[in-house]
């Protein structure tokens, strides 16, 4: 078990390092960042000043190591646009985004797990058809459009929920639905497919041959095996959701890290952008690592692997 965790940890660290290089390098891929910052019309002198001010005149590896060293300590430099420490801006808003992400994944799991299990027990039943229909329709609705439709219905026409802002818990209801429904179809399909697969397996037949009650066969023997791939997917989806929060938070003007990402990208605020890409990636890496550990606990075969 310890060996398994250590191996996964090293893998995660290597991925994290590579991601950090990419998020740092992104800024240089489009050309000289000093020119990008100074603007198209800037004179050579202005560009030179910016280059020195931000340290762009140093060799790129030195800049990277410097940036990474500070980033590890939670310091992402000063925002080019807002002129504030990037970390202050991000960490004051991250809470909103993480709350939204957790609400959304819970929402998605609460819908997809029961529906996936029930439709697997009775394939081709009415419930199964409904579930598959919801999945197919859900996958085709663009989330920003869905968000706008909800605003039209619940805020404008019915006046039940606030259309924007992040002042009260009501502000989180629509964003949770929009972000959560996005992960629901995939989770539901996987639960259903995994469950169907497990229910036709030899060990379920053994369990039935033992004379166990159907409820026990289902909950003790089938669910645990079927849920293992779902855990991995949920972690991946959780990571995607933080990325997806950009769209959702922008639609609902929810002042989280996603909204900040949109603002900073629109305003060419390179340092904030870099930091956010890195932080969102780290969340993904941590989630998938935790999912690996959880799965190792669920499935003893993984522990010795």
């Amino acid at each position: 078990m310890v060996r398994f965790i250590l191996t996964k940890l090293v893998m995660a660290a290597m991925v994290a390092l590579t991601v950090s290089i990419i998020s740092f390098g992104l800024v240089y891929m489009a050309g000289d960042p000093a020119i990008a910052l100074a603007g198209e019309t800037a004179t050579d002198e202005e560009i030179a000043v910016i280059r020195e001010q931000y340290g762009f005149d140093r060799p790129i590896p030195v800049q990277y190591l410097d940036w990474l060293g500070s980033a590890v300590r939670g310091d992402f430099g000063i925002s080019y646009y807002y002129n504030m420490p990037v970390s202050d801006m991000i960490f004051s808003r991250l809470g909103t985004t993480v709350t939204l992400g957790l609400c959304a994944i819970s929402f998605a799991l609460l819908i997809s797990l029961p529906m996936g299990v029930l439709s697997a027990i009775k394939p081709n039943s009415l419930l199964d058809r409904v579930a598959v229909f919801i999945a197919v329709v859900g996958e085709a609705i663009p989330s920003f459009w869905f968000g706008l439709l909800l605003i039209v219905l619940f805020s404008i026409n019915l006046g039940w929920l606030p259309a924007s802002g992040s002042d009260s818990w009501q502000s989180f209801i629509m964003p949770t639905i929009v972000l959560g429904y996005y992960a629901t179809p995939a989770l539901m399909r996987l639960t259903r497919a995994g469950m169907i697969d497990v229910l036709s397996s030899d060990y379920i037949r053994t369990a039935k041959a033992k004379g166990l009650r159907p409820r026990k066969v289902l909950f003790k023997h089938a669910l645990r095996n079927a849920v293992i791939p779902v855990v991995s997917l949920a972690a991946v989806q959780m990571g995607f959701m933080l990325g997806g929060s950009i769209v959702t938070e922008t639609v609902f003007a929810l002042h989280g890290a996603g909204f900040l990402a949109w603002q900073s990208i629109s305003r060419n605020d390179l340092s904030t952008m870099q930091a956010l890409i890195l932080i969102f990636s780290m969340f993904y890496i941590v989630f998938t690592f935790l999912a690996d550990v959880l799965n190792a606990w669920l499935d003893p075969r993984l522990r010795s692997g």
Partner: protein, 549 residues
């Protein structure tokens, strides 16, 4: 056999319908059979005969699409077909229990085996936790598992196939059932493990006084354990009687055909190959697998093949026998260079085949060809038979048209219709596919043909056809053959010389008669002793037919 034996299971006129569109209307039709206490009844038949369906019906585990339409299944006097699922589940694992074919997948990977056995007590009795545990440990001991305490806490993946099958047997025995159903319980196991499990069954018949319904396709297994035999074909019982009657004086033509197909050593004096030229020579071959060292796990090495030396002469059939994990498959992969060897050499016709550089290997490939085990996996489902037959010659530079002509000729030799050329593999049965594979290997006119478990996946009657075909072709074309198998009976039937492999090494070699009648190595002795049905002389079917006619 005394009259005090009471009938545990009595199936009367059972008919189970198949869903529409199948190749026949009923899975089983008008089935009648009885199982008594202290008795092993073997149900024998080839795949698709309906033998497993019968056991699933009794257990109430039939897939939903199959429904019994007529008859009754009386278990201790009650018709289980009339029971609700709830009532039936009270019997399952309690009064009737079942053992399955695949021990590798029959246990839930997420729970310890102790937990999975205890569950039976928890469901069907009111024992306390400590009582359940004590009984479980006792059961583990009864099925001869070493260190019951340790096994109790093991997960299925930590146990071998044979050990897992013992766990499944322990689960079945837990509540001392009156009826034990075993569905091909030893088919997936090695012969030595099979022998142990079979002897366990014989013991159980005495100690638990249960009636045992044993489903199998193997007549030697029947000879080993059966008291009575039921032979099924396409859903119908064609013959039933005592083991002695059915095995030694079979009446129905189908039973006779099956028994006649049981592989036995028939050839007495193989033609001498002593003076023939050596076509293949394997010298001190070594192959070791390494799992590369990771940060937290040390590198592990598995010596798959160690110091293997072989000399194969023209026209010889060499049988290579071994259980799973003996290294025979790795040896084959090395011989045909699907895997590179670590040390030693493979010489084919004066050329060191094992050292030919990858780039020039192409020119040497045609000397040695192979027929694989799985008739369903060895043909590409997306290419026509013709296209796959000409693959070899075309790769070696023969014009497609010429190759097609040859393909026609070879199809005739393996007794297939010419129009097979334009068909796809899914239109052929396992036996036909295997014949196509033989034709494909022969397309490039190899000198050496390797048959790697090539008949293991086939039903006995088909197995016999393919073996006969191989023997004929070998004779006709003057081929040299390497016959790799886990089945000693098949090896005995086809081989001139035999090598026995164990743990990557050759432990015994000699001509076939010598090895089978007078084995020197302990492992070989153990292997031979484990063969089922040793006391049974396969009757001379031809003589029976003459007498009957």
């Amino acid at each position: 056999m005394s009259d005090t034996q009471d009938t545990v299971l009595s199936i009367r006129n059972l008919t189970i319908d198949l869903p529409e569109g199948g190749d026949r209307p009923h899975a089983v039709e008008n089935l009648n059979l009885d199982v008594k206490r202290n008795e092993i009844v073997c149900i024998v038949g080839e795949s698709g005969s309906g033998k497993s369906i019968t056991s699933f019906t009794t257990m109430g585990l039939l897939p939903r699409v199959l429904k019994p339409s007529q008859g009754e299944v009386l278990f201790e006097g009650t018709d289980v077909l009339k029971l609700s699922d709830k009532q039936h589940s009270k019997l399952r694992g309690n009064r009737m229990a079942m053992i399955f074919q695949e021990p590798m997948s029959a246990l839930n990977p997420c729970y310890t085996v102790g937990d999975q056995i205890e569950e039976v007590f928890a469901t069907h009795s009111s024992m306390t936790k400590s009582e359940r545990r004590a009984r479980t440990i006792k059961l583990l001991d009864e099925v001869h598992l070493p260190e019951p305490e340790r096994i109790y806490h093991s997960f299925p993946h930590q146990l071998s196939g044979g050990q897992r099958q013992r766990i499944v047997i322990a689960i079945a025995l837990a509540m001392d059932p009156a009826l034990l159903i075993a569905d091909e319980p030893t088919t997936a196991l090695d012969v030595t493990t099979q022998a142990q499990i079979l002897s366990l069954f014989k013991q159980l018949k005495e100690t638990h006084s249960a009636g045992i319904m044993f489903v199998t396709h193997d007549f030697d297994v029947v000879a080993e354990i059966a008291d009575r035999v039921v032979v099924m074909q396409k859903g119908l019982v064609v013959e039933q009687g005592t083991a002695d009657e059915v095995l030694n004086r079979p009446k129905h033509p189908y039973t006779r055909q099956l028994i006649d197909a049981v592989p036995r050593r028939t050839r007495e004096a193989p033609p001498s190959i002593e003076g023939n030229e050596v076509v293949m020579k394997v010298v001190a071959l070594e192959k070791t697998f390494h799992t590369s060292r990771t940060l937290f796990a040390p590198a592990r090495t598995v010596k798959a093949v160690q110091d293997v030396n072989l000399t194969i002469r023209k026209g010889e059939t060499l049988g290579i026998v071994g259980e799973s994990g003996s290294g025979k498959s790795t040896l084959v992969r090395c011989l045909i260079r699907l895997t590179d060897i670590d040390d030693g050499a493979v010489w084919i016709g004066g050329k060191e085949f094992s050292r030919v550089p990858r780039g020039q290997l192409h020119d040497w490939r045609k000397k040695i060809q192979i027929i694989f085990q799985d008739p369903y996996g060895s043909l590409n489902p997306r290419r026509t038979i013709g296209d796959q037959l000409v693959e070899g010659p075309v790769n070696f530079g023969v014009p497609r048209k010429v190759a097609m002509q040859k393909a026609r000729e070879l199809l005739r030799i393996v007794r297939m219709e010419q129009d097979a050329l334009h068909r796809y593999p899914n239109q052929f049965s396992g036996g036909q596919r295997q014949r196509i594979c033989i034709a494909r290997a022969l397309m490039v006119e190899p000198e050496i043909l390797i048959a790697d478990e090539s008949v293991s996946a086939l039903d006995v009657s088909v197995q016999k056809e393919v073996l006969n075909l191989l023997a004929e072709i070998k004779e006709e074309m003057g081929l040299t053959m390497l016959f790799i198998t886990h089945d000693l009976r098949v090896a005995a039937q086809v081989s001139d010389n035999i090598v026995v492999m164990n743990k990557g090494q050759i432990v015994e070699r000699g001509n076939a008669d010598q090895v089978f009648s007078n084995p020197q190595n302990d492992y070989t002795k153990k292997l031979l002793a484990a063969m089922p049905g040793q006391g049974w002389e396969v009757p001379d079917i031809a003589a029976l037919e003459r007498a009957g006619a």
